[in-house]
């Protein structure tokens, strides 16, 4: 399997007559983009598109998802298969990427579970999406009393459509950089690098209902048995986020497209280990499902004869139980594990960080304590609704001060403690 990423580096954004890319600037035809997302009758009349550039005194909230604009130039299928494109398998051919650019879905809250992105100030240090040039969709439901699942889906789809639209408009521009990725067939992988350990990546996805779901080729991942996927498919948007509750540690669609664990494992492939497979699994709400999925996912790893697994969790609390089961079940099959999680150690950092534990989890990296409190000074401009700070996960009644200052836990900042490891944050013990 071979995939080329054709990159254009977006350094700034502006509105203009024709959507397109030139000299580092992505021009967005606002009315065309608005018309595209307005097609969905589940969305209301007062939609807007706004721009947020790194360094600006801008706060976007509440943010639901972050998506990187991509478009397939060649090869089977199209980006976000099964969501806004056909279900055909992706991961081969050529895909255009608007690097440094992201679409944010924001606006009226689905249900007190979305996040905050500051483009400058102390909050900007914590979110990876303060460094991207963001095209912000400000959304609202057609009917304030409409079913929340429908509204969530409408927001999700609008973001994906916008991301594809922006990249597609740049499809004739000569790429500034071409990266080539290859991933071997399992048969060939088994015969390669006999001196290196065979390893895989166990990719845990949050799958617990409204604002807690993830999609694989359009399939609700709570309904799958763990399965094998190529990392190149992930780059083409095979995995799409439908969740953002406690936005700090939910994997945005952007972080799936740019999964840094996959990126690093591809880099080390052939040197430190032989990277054979990615296994995706879910984090469901019943114990039977948790037991089944952890047994099945580790069984696949065992069938592939893997020597090691990197395991990333998504979320916290009950998913800690999935993480722990995946860990000890793999270890007891003789598969060495390293875990990537984050912590909920209380605002003072003095409580236990995880809800579950096992002695086999002896190699654990964390993306920081999500309960740590941060003060976000006022911004000149807020895209969205600042008052939601008082109700979103990580905030409390009184989080928003009169002058616009917001005091919240890192939990409320989109991507702050990404368990795909997309930030440099971590923690240590005092």
């Amino acid at each position: 399997m071979k995939l080329e990423l054709h990159r254009l580096n977006v350094k700034s954004l502006k509105f203009g007559d024709k959507t397109g890319f030139a000299d580092g600037v992505l021009t967005v035809n606002k009315s065309e983009l608005l018309a595209l997302i307005s097609e969905d009758e589940l969305l209301g009349k007062n939609l807007d598109v706004d721009l947020a550039i790194p360094g600006e005194s801008v706060r976007v909230m509440p943010v639901k998802d972050v998506i990187e604009p991509r478009f397939k130039l060649e090869g089977k299928g199209q980006v976000f298969p099964g969501m806004i494109s056909d279900v055909e398998t992706v991961g081969e051919g050529k895909t255009l990427v608007l690097s440094g650019c992201a679409v944010l879905t924001a606006g009226k809250l689905v249900r007190f579970q979305e996040g905050i992105i500051d483009m400058s100030g102390p909050g900007a240090d914590y979110t990876p999406y303060s460094k991207t040039c963001n095209v912000v969709l400000v959304l609202e439901p057609a009917d304030p009393n409409m079913d929340k699942h429908d509204y969530e889906k409408a927001c999700r789809t609008a973001g994906l459509k916008a991301a594809k639209y922006l990249a597609e408009a740049c499809k004739d521009v000569k790429p500034e950089k071409i990266e080539s990725y290859e991933f071997a067939k399992i048969r060939d992988a088994m015969n390669s690098y006999p001196e290196l350990p065979k390893v895989g990546y166990l990719y845990m996805l949050q799958t617990q209902g409204l604002l807690h779901d993830t999609y694989l080729y359009g399939v609700d991942v709570k309904k799958i048995l763990p399965t094998v996927i190529s990392p190149l498919e992930v780059m083409d948007g095979a995995i799409v986020s439908g969740n953002c509750v406690s936005a700090c540690d939910k994997n945005s669609t952007y972080s799936h497209q740019n999964n840094p664990v996959i990126a690093d494992m591809l880099k080390r492939h052939g040197k430190d280990f032989n990277f054979v497979a990615v296994i995706v699994t879910n984090e469901n709400v019943t114990l039977a499902d948790k037991r089944r999925s952890s047994s099945y996912a580790t069984k696949i790893a065992g069938m592939l004869g893997l020597d090691g697994l990197v395991i990333t969790e998504e979320g916290f609390g009950n998913p800690d139980a999935d993480l722990i089961m995946n860990c000890w079940k793999a270890e007891r099959l003789g598969i060495k594990t390293a875990l990537l999680t984050d912590e909920y150690a209380g605002q003072d950092g003095a409580s236990q960080s995880l809800a579950d534990s096992c002695p086999e989890g002896d190699a654990c990296v964390t993306a920081g304590n999500a309960n740590e409190v941060i003060i976000l000074p006022p911004m000149q401009k807020v895209i969205g609704y600042a008052e939601e700070a008082n109700v979103i996960a990580g905030g409390w009644n009184g989080s928003l001060a009169e002058d616009g200052t917001i005091t919240v836990e890192l939990q409320a900042i989109t991507g702050a403690t990404s368990e795909l490891g997309y930030t440099k944050l971590g923690a240590y013990t005092l």
């Binding site: 406690s246 709400v285 060495k336 930030t423 005092l430």
Partner: protein, 348 residues
Amino acid sequence: MAFKVIHYINQFYANIGGEEKADYKPEIREGIVGPGMALKAAFKGEAEIVATVICGDSYFASNMDEATNTILDMIRKYEPDAFIAGPAFNAGRYGTACGAMCAAVAKEFNIPVVSGMYPENPGVEMYKKFAWIVETPDSAIGMRKAAPAMAKLALKLLKGESIGKPEEEGYIERGIRKNMFYEKLAAERCVDMFIAKLKGEPFETEYKMPVFDRVDPQPAVKDLAHATIALVTSGGICPKGNPDHIEASSASKFGEYDITGVNDLTSETHCTAHGGYDATYADQDADRVLPVDVMRDLEREGVIGKLHTKFYTTVGNGTSVANAKKFGAEIVNRLVRDGVTAVILTST
């Protein structure tokens, strides 16, 4: 201007006497007494001991609340910037007093508190979460090492500098998790650690898995037909509109709600405040989390004596163990007071 520091020592280091004077009542003296000299030397003028509190170890141990309050009142007028206690080395009662005073001062005045102890001093286990305790040798021979280390740490705290890892700074690990930005992405750190583990090379986990303590089970309920059963939940069920603003995550409080005469929870009356799960089902029918309807039936049928008139609720999502513990302790006190026999706790 130099930072103002209050120093706490026991009767022995104040040269008042040994065990025979251990019931010495709290006293405050302007300026430096005893080991404060070593601290002064280490402060190099950047901080100044404005007063020294002296208290007998036995007196403190047998009158903890009173002694603590007396001492807090004594030091209030000095408006100190920091509080240093000891070092207590391996003296158990002295260490406990140092730790307790540090914890009380930190809570009351929100200023840095530093002590020094031998790791096996019982004061360490009791107070390390509340104070910076510099590791010292087990006896006063270690004063020459301990005082400069304590002074150095106190100065760092006073200047608001960030504090490094325990082994770098010389204090005893407090068990408090602190965020920091590393050089590398968490993903890269994880793959690095993975490779080290695969190769059998040494590596240091970033988080040691917790070990949870245990509580002995209570005896069984003997006479259910006359028992009062209370419902408690961490699933966030509350009257519609969440009147007490219980947080969607990291709850800072719990709610106590009357259900006298309530036979069924409905979407009209109750909802969930919880932000950590798909709330659709609980909002439709909160009995799915807090089974009031069934409990009422069982009460009517005489299976249980009585459903307690109040239920207790909080949001388990992202809520620290410390807060959960506090809520649990407070809730059970109220339940015991109200004559409840046993509890059904539901979690989501």
